[in-house]
């Protein structure tokens, strides 16, 4: 009983529990199909690269995981969400492809500019978008949803302008690599892992985490205690833009083109959901990055699982919604309080009986 309590009160219990739940559903399904080899967990090597459903989840979940890093900071510091990240991904992809293909070219087999220039360009435009959002929120006190709504609707269009209204294809192996394979591992997994590790190290080795949480919980008190609240909120949006920029390049590389209308479509919702699934309050303040990351991969796991179960991609959102409702309910404070009251009552009844 006590041990159980200890485990359930661990900070990351719920996100991990949800992740395990999704995995358990997979296992049950595999067994019920008479497939004891456990399709879900099997990882094989084909053509010199890793294959398997787990690998697929990690691979496809990379963009959401990268976005979740920035989104976590934004939510914590400003008690709001950046809904422009999906669009900014598309803009970053367009910028990158435009530089690599040269303005006006629709399809190239050779790079017009160095690869690094294109990648940096994409990332930079992401940061600029983040800075724009951050400026509106931190210095002009525009509500985050409204401020980021501007780029939510405009960024894709700007991306199209950059590409002269074309879908620019960059059919070059070195560019395809970001969405392809690095040795035997899918590159997106490596990129996401690097981003996550860097974020973790920064949070561990600097006071950023404390500052951001403090500002998110009480802006006025943080200022009196010597923190420049506006600057940290601004910084969080820039980081969020940076993450969107990186994710955009991965997305573009996967299809080796800048499809401004489809890259990162609805990703902002998955990113926000990752933060919530990770047990972080969307009201700002305290956050756990690890929770958001687990949340991101949980979402991808749900999607992949549904596809594996043969649910069509048109209907999948319905099942996804049901699963999300359950997960969110389990994490909701009133539900937790209800459980706590019940167990307290039980304990009391037991105590009474003993006396």
């Amino acid at each position: 009983m006590n041990k159980m309590k200890k485990i359930t009160s661990m900070p990351l219990f719920l996100p991990i529990f949800c992740m395990l739940l999704v995995m358990a559903a997979n296992i049950v399904y595999d067994i019920s199909c008479g497939n004891f080899a456990l399709n879900f967990f099997s990882i094989s090597v084909r053509n010199g690269v890793l294959y398997g459903r787990l690998i697929d989840i990690l691979n496809r979940g990379s963009e959401i995981a990268i976005l979740a890093i920035g989104m976590t900071l934004v939510v914590s510091a400003s008690a709001g969400t950046d809904i422009s990240v999906g669009s900014v991904m598309a803009l970053s992809a367009s910028m990158c492809c435009m530089i690599l293909a040269g303005y006006g070219n629709a399809s190239v087999n050779e790079l017009a500019n160095p690869l690094l220039l294109g990648v940096l360009g994409g990332i930079l435009i992401g940061c600029v978008c983040g800075a724009f959002n951050g400026f509106l929120v931190a210095y002009l006190s525009v509500q985050p949803m409204v401020a980021t709504l501007i780029l939510f609707s405009a960024a894709r269009a700007i991306g199209l302008l950059l590409c002269n209204n074309l879908i620019v294809y960059v059919r070059v192996d070195s560019f395809k690599m970001f969405g392809g394979y690095l040795g035997f591992l899918p590159t997106p997994i490596v990129i996401a892992a690097v981003c996550i590790v860097i974020a973790m190290i920064v949070l561990k080795k600097t006071a950023l985490g404390l500052y951001v949480q403090s500002v998110g919980i009480n802006k006025k008190a943080s200022r009196i205690a010597g923190l420049n609240s506006a600057r940290f909120i601004f910084l969080c949006y820039v980081v969020c833009g940076l993450c969107a920029g990186i994710a955009g390049i991965v997305g573009a590389s996967r299809i080796s083109s800048a499809d401004s209308n489809n890259i990162g479509l609805n990703y902002e919702l998955d990113a926000i959901l990752s933060v919530a699934l990770g047990g972080n309050s969307l009201g700002g303040g305290k956050f756990r990055l690890a929770g958001s990351i687990i949340g991101a991969y949980t979402i991808q796991a749900i999607t992949t699982t549904l596809y594996a179960l043969g649910v069509s991609s048109d209907v999948a959102p319905v099942y996804k919604a049901i699963i999300v409702i359950i997960i969110v309910t389990v994490q909701a404070p009133p539900f937790k309080a209800y459980l706590a009251r019940r167990s307290a009552k039980k304990a009391l009844a037991k105590g009474g009986a003993a006396a």
């Binding site: 080795k205 600097t206 006071a207 950023l208 404390l210 500052y211 949480q213 403090s214 919980i217 009480n218 006025k220 008190a221 943080s222 200022r223 009196i224 205690a225 010597g226 923190l227 420049n228 303040g285 305290k286 309080a337 009251r341 307290a344 009391l348």
Partner: protein, 506 residues
Amino acid sequence: MENNVVLTMRGITMTFPGVRALDNVDFTLRKGEIHALMGENGAGKSTLIKCLTGINAFEAGEIHVEGIQGPVVNHSTLDAQKKGISTVYQEVNLCPNLSVAENLFIGREPKTKFGTIDWKAMVKRSKEIMAGLDMNIDVTQNLEEYSLALQQMIAIARAVDMDCKVLILDEPTSSLDDNEVEKLFGLMRSLRDKGVGIIFVTHFLEQVYAVCDRITVLRNGQLVGEYPIAELPRVKLVAAMMGKDFDDLASIKSDESPVFSDEDLLIDAKGMSHRGTIKPFDLEIHKGEVVGLTGLLGSGRSELARVIYGADKNQTGTLKVKGKEVKINNPIDAMNLGMGLLPDDRKAEGIIADLSVRENIILALQAKRGIFSLLSMKEQNALADKFIDMLQIKTASRETLIRQLSGGNQQKVILGRWLATNPEFLILDEPTRGIDIGTKTEIQKLVLQLAKEGKGVIFISSEIEEMLRTCSKMAVLRDGAKVGEITENLTQETVMKAIAGGDQNE
């Protein structure tokens, strides 16, 4: 149930993580009485109130309310209000961005025939309510436009207006000045005569003896006893609260007033001001000097300190720190010059509610060190433990969230936050508000100790006695301007006269 009893609580028990907040507490409230609930910080007063109003769920015990069959369990304050229990809390719990009228009627707005809100009736009723309390203010203005004191009065007006059998006042007077307190007492007495039972939680002993009929004392979450006021003189009350005999707040200041030379000049403000809050003022503070800022609430005493600290921007004049002219744009600039500010509005500007005691203590020091030199966990723990020990902060552990602490203990944590930065010049704005007597003396001693170590202190308090015990100089403020200084002959009388605007100052 006795005939004239409106509320009984029996055997109320409740635990917070690691702390037994209430242990088998009984409480009885009769019709038409003002009943003081007394105890030190963390004795369980606020927790008991919260159990009654449904904010905390208690684990054992029963509550009975007159006219309601069977035990009552409230699940929310709304629930409690419906049963005739209204509350005004220690910190104003209204919505600052709504108008006064909306705040008065939130959750029970008058409706038109069509089911929409009847704004006209709401404003009219609001005006009547406020006028009934001798407050003629514009009820359509946002609440945040008014001072903390007025907001408190509005909160009380709201509670009073909701036909209540039981009115709970949790430290309602801590942000009111004497005049407003008298007004409130008048109101309380007339409500009592109408048969309302009033529970009055306060730290001010004088106020208890001024209005109350009965006292219930709590200590460490347990009931000490219930006494008619006549049977419990002041000294005995203090003894009951502290659990030991207590010699009334003794004089702790040495009599000889120190002499300061110009070389020791720490802060030299000339003509500083902030539009709308404080007119140009001069102020000198020396090393080892405790300067009191006194005046009625809203006279500009907090605002003066905020301008020096850079919390409000200085718009005219100059500031010299240790003889060097400086420009302060933000609090961090002031901190780097060795300053610290303990703000008076603890909830809005002091605590970071969802962070732990440890994080709250190290915050200012960490801000000063900068983002890249994070204090190691070992250093953080050591600092937290040091101040928890030194200031006797009652907390389950250093990782407890600060919002789970009682108000007085939160204040001590914020005090610890500033002491951790080792400031040369500390501004303490109402540091003892909501703090029990024993700790008050400790804080006063601490202030004198800081002065002895050669630090400069600005001390702001509504209690003149407290300032007389600690300050060697007092600056008097009236209507947003500094009107004089008293350096000699500091007595209650001279200070009161100066505040009121007599002849001898200026």
